[in-house]
Symmetry: C2
Subunit: 598 residues, 2 copies
């Protein structure tokens, strides 16, 4: 197994050439995020990821977490790594400076988070959930709650969780039954069971701040009767010191396919009289707060797709360069060669590499738009960027995580029989990646979000504006010479045409037959992701050619950008036509059978 | 977790309507395999699979095998299940009647084996390997060796293994180093280490007959210096009783991603003076014997893809019918429904169902051709069928196992968060399936076999003949009325056109640039499999319509055949054009980067 080496050069290329880092650093509050500073921070993060987190990835998977009597012991080394992580200030890098964060732009935060996820996905879920809880508190907590909890969550001294799911309420949060009873002192007593609670219990931090969706008495049925509560593991005294143990306990942990070092907890609230909770924001608006945070959480899971793909690629590449097997194809010499020389292995590596780069580019461009949406002085620019971000979130989440399945699959495949042996490590990435298309909304949920709220609701206006940008890039490709650019242009043009047809079909179908439209949800998501990835790789090739023409930069790195874009065009983007066919014509077959005919 | 219920009706439909069971039962030696008898045998096998093997699948996965001091203890229940399996005569169902087998046609044997693989893939590998060893012995063993070993291997009293791989010799068997030294008595002493030996050691049978590839002194280098040896765990005395323990020991077992109940052994031969071995066939022809058997082994692994897909589908279907979550799409009622009513879940189930049926049809049609290739009185018919079988083996192996990855992936996805919990059982199918694209030749090996030996070598003649059969089916679709048949025809016509283009490109490229051709190997395999599956489902739809027109059969089952073919046409077969693009144009991008640019 190889340790993770963060691809800092690649990240900087994407940030500068595709995501507009220079423009981001001109936004109010982002003045510190110059290219030099960003690169220095990435180098520092890369060191931490490679030297501290990566070496714990496999041992954490093997050892797993240990539950005993409502406590959870983390694998060896995790608590100390977390202590260093917090001490180095990584936890608050993207958080509000008012509470001790560094307020760095999302673009930089995305790259740094990619490193945590790639080096040790199970570890990274702890700060991820804390960040989510921080955002919820920042969004809707009272000043008193913020003052009590935020500084120590931003510093990483305390961690956070999100408690939504119950056995009968997974995707369907309307079915949540956990209840909260108001007390005379303004607090609540919370009763209920929550499942799939990531880092619901662990031994890495002094306190755990649970954010819990629950119903107050007489709340409306369904999602409009859900409120958000803060339920700390230890109550906090007025002076900020830790008080009594709250009635919130981890009653078991799940035995999962992957992310073994991340405790997935069943949480029992109120088994001994009621867990003390504090209402966060207004009653009955809990789900709307969750939805605002959900974009960030979904984005973060999408980044997991990018990150675990990068990790799988790095390991497969190292093996392909080192494993000697068989003679070169077509050679008369019987000399054995490294398997990277075999065309099919090279094809698999290129599928991994090109899709990983495409996903990263789409994710970082979305992060930059998020910065502009929040910080740009012009309202029209903010709105346009916000619309783009909302359109892209289901793509970053759904498409990147689905693609990560193929990439981690190929990572095993390149190892041959060794890939199936757990000791090798390649299978862990496949197992870890498998959760990403499920949590924070399955791919089906992302697809329906895409076709409904993000495409049909505005009649396709936002996505058509994006298609317009794609067409600009396609025209620029036409100004370049050579077979590579001609091939990239041809595939991108085909992809754009397929996407346009599919958008028209979705907009038309959604009003007429929502079930038929919903059949197309995931194919549409894959189509849009595939074309968006091709668009970004085409932009990368154009940027590379600009630098080659100017004679600056590493010519081999830049040439690889063009070759990678071409590979993607002919091996991945080529699938756009088939996906558009499915979007436009796939409903009758999908709805033909009644339930008894299955 | 649901127990496996073999799809006997579906199997009978494929056998009768697509694979020509009635014609097979007219072949010499197949007279007993009438439809009634075949169905009775399938019912009996279904009972054994559902009642004996299926209940051990999950417990076997959880318990795994236990190695201690060169012995392997199987999970609870396996030894008794194997005893029953052998006692019921299942082991020899396809074996030569001369040695106690039942000599049943491959077509029936395929369906029966599908049941073992679906109900308990880890268990099924033991008889699979025994069958391989029986075939090797039958092919090249001396009469004395056959008399000593075959009857007890056919009965299942003894099991068999295949020992090819060594640490430095995986795909590249030319690197095998195990050596065999001739002795004065005509036997050999074998020395070397073999890895990845399935059921190399276990406690289910009285003896284990290892077939081992090794080099004799002064043998030529490379694959032309490999000979095949029989190395029994216990030597056999002249009277047939077991003699001394041979110097062949299991020194460890692998910790694998899946098939935990199948011991994957590291075998040490000759650590204590030399393992007694017997040359099987002629010296230096070992690999050619292996190649003859390889078709059967690869076919069997392809069936694993079909089987595990069926199992994953059954469990996902049961869950989708029982899990209540969310209201119906587009309904104003807030009533919760089973998730099978959600369009995206239905889409996923149809992807699973249609591809599983397509894979089964392709596999059974190939099995029937194998029967005709061996038993038909007409030489031309035998030859034509043999060419078809050889063409289809890489498809059955490579395409079915690759498709099984998607199907088992979706099986987890339909379960949502529960799918990620090992207790649910869905993840086991994904883990078990993952080996199938690796062992008995990776998908890359299958793809290169397809484009080289099976397509380019005869200038595309065999595959073009198959395309001619596809075109016949397409014309028959044109004679049918209605939107379903029009859609199926349109997609099949597109698929045939894409396949034809790709075949021409492969034939042309193979002579000119073998590396470029090799980039196209796996895309070509996927393209051919996808179109072949569509062809068989189209034939199924035509057969169903014939029965509907005649007013016989179960109208709902038959209508589902047409709906399933339509789904496949618009969701799966629609990908053919993109794959053909990659076959025809994918080489430059794949070979653009040098090794240092990765």
């Amino acid at each position: 197994m190889s340790e993770y080496a963060a691809p800092v050069r690649e990240m900087m290329f994407v940030m500068r050439e595709l995501a507009g880092l220079d423009e981001i650093s001109r936004l109010p509050g982002c003045e510190d995020a110059t290219a030099d500073t960003v690169e220095a921070i990435l180098d520092e993060a890369a060191r931490f990821a490679g030297e501290v987190l990566s070496p714990l990835n496999k041992s954490g998977d093997k050892e797993g977490v240990c539950w005993h009597d409502s406590n959870v012991t983390m694998p060896a080394g995790f608590a100390e790594a977390y202590r260093q992580f917090a001490a180095n200030g990584w936890n608050g890098i993207g958080c509000d400076t008012d509470y001790g964060g560094q307020g760095m732009p999302k673009l930089l935060v995305a790259a740094v988070q990619e490193m945590w996820k790639a080096s040790n996905m199970a570890f990274s879920l702890c700060p991820l959930l804390t960040t989510g809880a921080i955002e919820a508190l920042t969004l809707c907590g009272s000043d008193a709650l913020k003052a009590t909890f935020l500084p120590r969550m931003v510093s990483g001294e305390w961690t956070g969780t999100m408690n939504l799911t119950e056995p009968q309420a997974g995707t369907d949060l309307a079915s949540v039954r956990t209840r909260a009873e108001p007390q005379a002192d303004g607090s609540y007593r919370v009763f209920g069971q929550k499942i799939f609670i990531t880092y619901g219990e662990h031994d890495m931090a002094g306190n755990i701040v649970h954010l819990v969706l629950a119903r107050t008495p007489n709340a409306p049925e369904g999602v409009k009767g859900l409120s958000l509560f803060i339920v700390p593991k230890f109550l906090v005294n007025a002076d900020g010191s830790l008080g009594a143990r709250n009635d919130a306990r981890c009653v078991s942990v799940e035995h999962k396919l992957g992310i073994h070092a991340s405790p997935t907890c069943v949480m029992a609230y109120g088994d001994a009289g009621g867990a003390v909770g504090y209402l966060c924001g207004q009653e009955n608006l809990g789900l709307s707060y969750m939805f605002i945070m959900m974009n960030a959480a979904r984005y973060a899971v999408g980044l997991e797709g990018v990150a675990i793909s990068e990790r799988a690629y790095q390991q497969a590449l190292a093996y392909a360069k080192e494993r000697i097997q068989g003679p070169e194809t077509g050679s008369r010499s019987g000399d054995k060669v490294a398997i990277i020389r075999h065309p099919d292995v090279r094809r698999m590596l290129m599928v991994m590499k090109s899709q990983t780069e495409a996903m990263r580019a789409v994710a970082y461009v979305t992060a930059a738009a998020n910065d502009a949406a929040h910080r740009h002085p012009g309202e029209a620019t903010r709105k346009r960027n916000q619309a783009f971000v909302e359109l892209m979130i289901p793509i970053v989440k759904g498409w990147s995580t689905e693609t990560a399945q193929e990439v981690t699959y190929l990572g095993v495949q390149i190892h041959g029989g060794m890939g199936y042996i757990e000791e090798t490590g390649a299978a862990q990435y496949l197992r870890d990646a498998r959760i990403t298309t499920i949590y924070e909304g399955t791919t089906g949920i992302q697809g329906n979000d895409l076709i409904g709220r993000k495409i049909a609701r505005d009649g396709g206006a936002t996505i058509k504006a994006v298609i317009g940008l794609m067409q600009q890039a396609e025209r620029q490709l036409g100004e370049q010479k050579g077979a590579d650019f001609a091939a990239i242009r041809s595939s991108l043009a085909g992809g754009i045409q397929a996407l346009s047809q599919a958008v028209d079909a979705v907009v038309a179908n959604f009003a007429q037959d929502i079930k038929a439209a919903s059949v197309a949800a995931v194919p549409m998501l894959k189509l849009f992701g595939t074309v968006a990835g091709g668009w970004q790789l085409a932009r990368a090739a154009l940027a590379a050619q600009r630098h080659l023409d100017a004679g600056d930069g590493d010519a081999r790195f830049l040439a690889a950008k063009i070759g990678t874009a071409r590979f993607y065009a002919d091996h991945v983007l080529a699938q756009a036509g088939g996906l558009a066919h499915t979007v436009c014509h796939g409903a009758p077959g999908a709805m033909a059978l009644d339930e008894q005919q299955f």
